[in-house]
């Protein structure tokens, strides 16, 4: 696809959203049997599955820490999740995304409760449409709760970007490709920033405004995460299918 002439027209984006509008989010808590906790999440065209195992023994042993759990995070894209088939296995991008995503979640985990243990978080991107790392963090946060890992709070994540000189929430693929800036953020409900990355072009003022927009969006997402967990654990509903 070539660059559309305009990405935003009269305050309406190509996919019909307003600048400060998130894409639809769908959450299924406990989507898997084998994992200790899991969550399937759709964010617009993104489809991600998160699973948590642990606390459990650490392999290889020498990675264990004597005073806290070691938290590991493996973000991975299915080879069919993108237009051009991706070779299986980790690449440099997924290694970086795994690192910052782990650091986005570690602050809320009571790691010191589980010395010599591992808490393993796996996020598989089944379909990608810009925003996979934020979708992954949102899902992983829920999966941690589903696994019963003691946490100070959930973590919520969302990107803010700039397209056609306008700040917009939660970029989709076209906006990401042809936009001017992308800034993924993750935070706790009390406003502590646990992930912050940016690339593109933002003035100081734009940056401050973008950060405020991210805060608002993360609050919205937090409510959805909480509601999904409450629903699961209050009604023990038999949920719909995953990857519909």
């Amino acid at each position: 696809m070539n660059r559309p002439e305009k990405l935003i027209e009269g305050d309406i984006r190509l996919d019909g959203r307003r600048p400060d509008e998130l894409r639809p989010i769908k959450i299924k808590v406990g989507a898997l049997n084998r994992a200790d906790g899991s969550c399937y999440l759709e964010l617009g065209g993104n489809k991600v599955m998160a699973a948590v195992y642990g606390p459990r023994e650490v392999h290889p042993r020498h990675m264990a820490k004597s005073t806290s759990a070691v938290v590991r995070y493996r973000y991975s894209m299915a080879s069919f999740s993108v237009e051009e088939r991706k070779r299986p296995g980790p690449d440099r991008r997924s290694i970086e995304v795994s690192k910052v995503s782990r650091e986005a979640l570690e602050p809320v985990i009571f790691e010191e409760y589980f010395p010599r243990s591992a808490i393993d978080i796996f996020v598989e991107v089944l379909q990608a449409d810009a925003g996979t790392r934020t979708a992954g963090i949102n899902a992983a946060s829920i999966a941690l709760a589903d696994a019963g890992i003691p946490m100070k709070s959930l973590v919520s994540s969302c990107a803010v970007g700039k397209v056609d000189d306008t700040l917009v929430l939660d970029l989709n693929k076209d906006e990401d490709n042809y936009g001017q800036a992308d800034m993924p953020v993750a935070m706790t409900p009390d406003g502590n920033i646990t992930l912050l990355q940016m690339d593109g072009h933002l003035t100081r003022d734009e940056f401050r405004e973008a950060l405020e927009m991210a805060k608002g969006a993360c609050t919205t997402i937090y409510e959805l995460q909480r509601a999904a967990l409450v629903e699961k654990y209050s009604s023990q509903m038999e949920g719909g299918d995953v990857i519909e």
């Binding site: 898997l32 049997n33 084998r34 994992a35 065209g45 489809k47 599955m49 699973a51 195992y53 459990r56 023994e57 392999h59 493996r74 991975s76 299915a78 080879s79 069919f80 999740s81 993108v82 237009e83 051009e84 088939r85 299986p88 296995g89 393993d120 796996f122 996020v123 598989e124 089944l126 379909q127 990608a128 299918d241 995953v242 990857i243 519909e244």
Partner: protein, 262 residues
């Protein structure tokens, strides 16, 4: 595995074994009965074909990507099939990260042979320019939840994806219109295990873990065998194999008609 895990596993094995002696299975199935199967296709928009397969507790997604590439030197006028399967650590506490190990490689290769040897795809129709450019069909099996018998679920997902996949001719400027993958057969894999001399189809995770041997039989529309694979260290007798082949062909027909009508 902690000591109590090990004890649990032993108890579980005894339980399944004792049930078997009484002619029963832990989930109440008959020995030749499959667990519930759900297949949804076209679940991944980015893939040319895809299927989500739930077989009992086992969940996997198969994505088919199709793109132009060079043919193999010895088959210059035929498309190429490449099958991958990874047992990623998300799907089971016993799977590890890293390059595929022998179990995953064996599964991928048996899925691949099931598709290839049955002639399910007419590869000659996937040639673009002989000796230079052909369509490459990548079948990627993504296991999400290991509830046993990944083999049959993966084979089901592969064939269901292929039956609904489109060759993206337009996107690569190779034709006016996307075409279906040229399918000419619908192979189905049936896996049996031997537990204490009793043959059971579609083993659950627990059954699989105590079975010494699996035998997978892939058969085609006309009821002929396209591929077989014995996996595991316990021997089988000729009689056991004959019996499995017979019920596998019948069961394949049943599943094909129920789930894979084109």
């Amino acid at each position: 595995m902690s000591l109590s895990d090990e004890v649990m596993t032993e108890l579980r094995k005894d339980y399944i074994y004792n049930l078997m002696v009484k002619g029963e299975r832990e989930d109440g199935r008959a020995f030749d009965q499959y667990r519930e199967i759900t297949i949804d296709t076209n679940v991944i928009e980015r893939a040319e074909g895809s299927a989500r397969v739930q077989l009992g507790d086992t969940l996997l997604v198969v994505g088919v990507k199709i793109q132009p590439g060079a043919p193999f030197p010895d088959t210059p006028d035929q498309g190429v099939i490449i099958t991958n399967l990874e047992l990623i650590p998300l799907a089971s506490p016993v799977f590890e990260a890293g390059p595929p190990r022998e179990d995953a490689i064996e599964l991928a290769r048996v899925v691949d042979r099931g598709v290839r040897e049955s002639g399910a795809i007419d590869l000659s129709k996937l040639c673009i320019t002989p000796g230079e450019k052909v369509w490459m069909v990548f079948i990627d099996v993504h296991v999400l939840d290991d509830g046993g018998n990944i083999m049959d679920a993966a084979a089901l997902g592969a064939i269901a994806s292929l039956l609904t996949a489109k060759v993206p001719a337009k996107r690569f400027n190779i034709g006016e219109e996307d075409m279906d993958v040229p399918m000419r057969d619908v192979p189905v894999s049936i896996t049996a295990v031997d537990i204490g001399g009793t043959i059971m189809l579609d083993p659950s995770l627990d059954e699989e873990s105590i079975a010494g041997t699996k035998l997978t039989v892939t058969s085609n529309q006309e009821g002929a065998i396209s591929a077989m694979q014995k996996s595991g260290v316990h021997p089988l007798t000729t009689e056991q194999i004959s019996y499995i082949v017979d019920i596998a062909i019948d069961k394949a027909k049943e599943i094909r008609e129920k789930f894979l009508v084109i």
